[in-house]
Symmetry: C2
Subunit: 724 residues, 2 copies
């Protein structure tokens, strides 16, 4: 008998049988074809007696079951159904059924299946007691019988083996293992008894069935979006998701428990700890794999992981979130990708992000440890939380991006969004961590000559200003900030903060005088290779004029807020009349930042200043825009009819683009295709045409992305409505 990986015989005295952690099983492990009754004392005959009933065919009724279970889109030869809902089987016998004939249908999953563990279910159709799944006879047609079987709404999820057993005189005669009757059982958002139930049909179609999405990126005031092809129905993806659970050695018993499943998933999507799906890489060096910006979706990643068993290189937060979303939707769990703009990180779970400045007012990069991510992506799953008090069900945060501080391990959630909004941080899992990501204060410190820090300003508004997800049934953003937070300054917000502090979140309570002199920065959207114009406003709310010695600091930053390259320092002085605002226009030329971009598109500008010992600071992050790929389709938009797509691009820059790699895909339309150009000279145009044959009907999207050595994140998309 096979043992789970990592279990040696050192555990023989620990378990009666090895704990099954793999959905796979060796043929012949399940049953003998003829199993005599234990209690039968008569001489045993292993051949069925003449005239005995026997099964000649088992039909899983896919054409009927798949539409009823909303599983038609799965490109899978086997039946896929959802739990808590009846499906049909047609069983054909060698003769008409007569009084006294007794049969049962058996579903088995994993090794050592057991009725007490929900991994071996016998379904009976008469008065004889069977397992917990309901069975009924719907129709008798000659020697065939159509049965209806309803798995329980808390059944184990995965791939079951199906057997039909008939009772002969002194034993049970079973059908042989037939891989064609294997059946996938999923979570069911359409079933009110399933903890993943979603009442609204438009939401179920979006959060379970939509295989195309957009993920928001950029920065507050300069939000951009990226298409992501979830592709949860593409060939091989459902098996890849089960492979991930097997790799994680998650006991089969627990796979019907939604909370354990999503928590395990958040750990398995990243490769830390457990050899999971994706390797994080936040450098500018992706030579050992694919840059995170080059993926168009999850399909290639999941297939590569399932085929090789080796973590796929490389990911950043939106890749973790995109692939996790595919995993969740593929298993039937309603889910969506969330973007939190100005996300606090690495601040050890307290509610302070500490930024440190030198005595002359310039940023002290050496002593600043915390960073504010321009944005961070995670997932939400829609779950009824029976493990928590009432009111905390609904959307739950799960995050697959490896975080140092989540329980010391690389997993996060499920954490109730409602609990975060109320500051109820006393419930599992990791709510204090998520709370800090959206609610931290930014504390500005001045570091004195002795190394001592003194706070001089606290910004309570900067972190978690905006939280976005794709809207239901459209490609527009939906602002979900209010689901995480009460309005800043409201009484409810104060209660939430007080509750969070009672549960151990540390906040800053420095007594700081109200400053009468403030500064802010405004920047209009800028494309790569354009000059940046900063409008810096100094506001003097006092009754005396002030002279400010100011400084502009410019850096290329990673989206994690970490400095890639500091490229500009500029001192200037401004006189601000009493009760007025003085605007200074500063220009940063393209030549100043272009040599330092690498593969990043983020620029951070910090204006600091001092007047009469009163320090002031403003920070502005922008994301540079990129040109687009143009995409057009032609041909008859109909299932199984050939169509064509053309991707074209003209280099608008005065520099050549080197090693340009293009990728394109569209779930239900076309699997991933790639094309490379070693160089695209200034002004040069490229055009790339591919044919495809749509598999699924309805509104569908094709996306393409181009990544070159010196310009990334060039996107294109085209929508097409395929007729049935």
């Amino acid at each position: 008998m096979s043992k789970p990986d990592g279990e040696s015989n050192t555990h023989t005295g620990r378990y009666t049988e090895p704990v099954p952690t793999s959905n796979l099983v060796n043929d012949g492990d399940d049953f003998p074809e003829f199993e005599p009754f234990d209690d039968d004392a008569t001489p045993r005959s292993y051949a069925p007696s003449a005239g005995a009933i026997a099964v000649v065919n088992v039909d899983m009724c896919q054409p009927i079951n798949k539409p009823n279970h909303n599983t038609t889109a799965y490109d899978n030869p086997n039946l896929v159904v959802r739990r808590g809902q009846e499906f049909l089987m047609r069983i054909s016998f060698n003769r008409l059924l007569s009084q006294g004939d007794d049969f049962q249908v058996e579903f088995l999953i994993g090794s050592n299946p057991s009725p007490s563990k929900g991994t071996l279910i016998a379904v009976t159709f008469g008065s004889r007691r069977g397992g917990p799944w309901a069975g009924r006879i719907l129709e008798l047609q000659g020697p065939s019988v159509v049965v209806g079987i309803t798995p329980t709404a808390n059944a184990v999820v995965g791939k079951f083996r199906t057997y039909v057993a008939v009772v002969t005189g002194n034993g049970m005669q079973r059908t042989r293992r037939d891989a064609r009757t294997d059946m996938y059982l999923l979570y069911n958002a359409w079933c009110p008894e399933d903890p993943v139930f979603v009442p609204n049909d438009a939401e179920r179609r979006e959060y379970v069935l939509n295989d195309v999405g957009v993920i928001y990126q950029g920065a507050v005031g300069a939000v951009s979006h990226r298409n992501w092809m979830y592709g949860q129905f593409e060939r091989g993806i459902l098996d890849a998701c089960i492979y991930i659970l097997d790799s994680s050695r998650m006991p089969i018993y627990n796979r019907g428990n939604i909370i354990q499943l999503v928590r395990k998933g958040s750990a398995m999507l990243n490769s830390q700890d457990d050899n999971g799906v994706l390797v994080g890489n936040w450098s500018d060096d992706y030579s050992m794999g694919q840059p995170p910006t080059a993926w168009t979706g999850s399909v290639q990643i999941l297939l590569q992981y399932a085929n090789t068993g080796v973590p796929v290189c490389f990911a950043q937060c939106w890749v973790f979130a995109g692939v996790f979303n595919t995993f969740l939707r593929c298993l039937g769990i309603p889910s969506r990708v969330i973007t939190n703009f100005s996300s606090a990180h690495d601040n050890t779970g307290n509610l302070k992000t500490d930024l440190i400045f030198k005595m002359d007012g310039t940023p002290d990069r050496r002593h600043t440890r915390d960073s504010i991510w321009n944005y961070h992506c995670w997932n939400e799953v829609f779950i009824s939380r029976h493990d928590l008090p009432p009111g905390l069900s609904g959307w739950q945060v799960v995050d697959a991006t490896p975080q140092e501080t989540s329980d010391g391990l690389y997993r996060c959630g499920p954490s109730s969004v409602a609990a975060i909004k109320e500051g109820l941080l006393c419930h599992p899992f990791d709510s204090g961590f998520v709370f800090a990501e959206v609610n931290s204060d930014v504390v500005f410190h001045k570091r004195d000559r002795y190394g001592t820090l003194s706070p001089y300003r606290v910004d309570k508004l900067h972190i978690g200003q905006l939280i976005y997800t794709k809207a239901v049934g459209s490609f527009s953003p939906q602002d979900v900030t209010h689901t995480y937070k009460y309005p800043e300054g409201s009484g409810e917000d104060a209660s939430t903060m007080a509750r969070a502090e009672a549960y151990g979140c540390e906040r800053d309570h420095s007594e700081l005088g109200e400053s009468q002199l403030t500064v802010s920065i405004n920047i209009q959207p800028v494309q790569v290779s354009q000059d940046v114009i900063l409008a810096v406003d100094f506001q003097n709310q006092g009754d005396i004029p002030r002279t400010v010695k100011a400084h502009l600091d410019g850096s290329v930053v990673y989206y994690t807020g970490v400095t890639r390259k500091h490229f500009k320092d500029y001192d200037f002085t401004v006189v601000v009349p009493a009760n007025e605002t003085e605007q200074v226009i500063l220009k940063v030329a393209a030549e100043e930042y272009m040599p330092h971009l690498g593969s990043q598109l983020g620029l951070r500008f910090v204006v600091t200043g001092e007047s009469d010992d009163q320090p002031l600071t403003a920070i502005k992050v922008i994301e540079l825009g990129t040109p687009a790929l143009t995409m057009t389709v032609s041909g008859q938009p109909q299932v199984q009819q050939e169509m064509f797509v053309t991707v074209s691009f003209t280099n608008p820059y005065d520099f050549a683009l080197k090693n340009a790699n293009l990728a394109m895909e569209g779930p239900g339309l076309m699997s991933s295709r790639t094309r490379s150009y070693s160089v695209i000279e200034p002004g040069m145009s490229i055009s790339w045409k591919e044919s495809f044959i749509p598999r699924l009907d309805g509104p569908r999207r094709l996306v393409a992305v181009m990544v070159s050595d010196n310009l990334r994140q060039v996107w294109g998309e085209v929508d097409v409505d395929i007729l049935p």
Copy 2:
């Protein structure tokens, strides 16, 4: 700059600096000896000016600080103090201090220390602002100054580097790194502001300072005990505990957070996932290491792990709990070892332990997956849970024995004992799992000829009958069952169970008729190689006499309840008069079980029977007793005076004991010694004498254990009161 293990340059865009996860640091990383002020614009002189103040000596005042901080027992050349409590330092200068002289004491821990992360603390002694630790000048004696320093009660715990810096004209002049002034900072059970505060002094002495303990084992009705030498003060142990945290890559920032620390500890004590301290082995084959029964305490295990970095072979639950207890007490955390008798396991977190019987009433070992451990050991830590609602502070379960089902990972707790008692399973961590260990019902199923299970009896009393720990200040057991559970059948118990079900714990609700016929087994204590006498009582509460066809099944079992060897089947019939009890005496001869013992001492007897289709079952587990080692001491019982201990043993059996290995130790008295005998013939005596020199005074204990191929768990102990 060194990077934490596992962090490659793929994370350069992720963190401003590598996250410090090691308490160690390379010399010279901290500071230059002379650090000019950032803001000093004058030409820089790197030599102190003439007449400048300079530090000539730093004295950590161990003879004063150690008794005040209850750390005298640590066999460590450096100062060990507890946080939230003042300690003294004497700093000697090159001349008398004068007006205007300015100095500060700096404490650093880990790499990249930072004042905003609590890993670099500057203590000032005047009006100038410093870090969060309070400093005051206590005494000026010529050129020396005695200062008092009070670390905050939430400070990072570990080994700090100490520097004294004086302000010269244009910079800071620091003392050189001196390993002799390194200081260990621990959790403080004596400090009301520390979350580990224990108000009662006797409890603090037991749960933090006692370095000797007993761990309860055996079975209900046959409780035995094992001495365990915690040895948390022995040489090298404190460094080994810090090494464990470093191996776990736990960020230094988080080490002052008691909840994160104990949770990380529970994961690190076992080798699964993370290359931790101990390798579990529940087989009878320990050829690759030391049998779990052969350890006398934690010291050897921790030193071996710290010296090699390789997990130590082998452990079972009491070894995990014993070593974890050392780790906790060594770091200043109040803790104790708990034994739960008849502990439910591997039942996927629901409240059912399913035992399956065949149609003829005999145990169906092939289909039974769950097991009931004769006993299971875990730890409790005493913590104020600021992260939970009021009422859930106090003792918290933490368990280092690897469990499959705890959050899918090999860690467990901290889980509030008060929350378990109330069924409040909606709070972190793992309370549902611990709740099931002490509250599961045992459900007896009959498996019919078709493989279907039918429950016929539910035993609500069997699991978690008795929960023991060592009493404060004595070697007797303290029954703490009532801290986990309300009395069975009480109204409070019903409320707890209802609450647990509301939070998702599944229970059995089979409607079963009250049986009028029951059976029970009683067995008097038995020594290895003695016959076992079973008194089997059949009670008939009905008004008609009953004839019972009964069966006795006997097995050698591991302490995990898993069958090692089934050795006896015996059928018998008994007639039970109406309203009477009929006793049957059954004898199991020593020759029947002795060949199958291996290294186990547990026997399980199951009596099943049937009368008029009514099945009945009784289960009884016993642990065979073993002979004792005799230990005597001689010599003057005084610190630093030579003494002698003699261990003697006579083989009482008619068989030879092969490969007998003896080990002996006593914290504060003697480090571990071992001795081997290849054979001890029947009737033969051995005597082993060792000398030792006591290091610590007070009541102390020496223990010895003997393990041979065919007899384990032979113990001896002797107590001695050492004069100062």
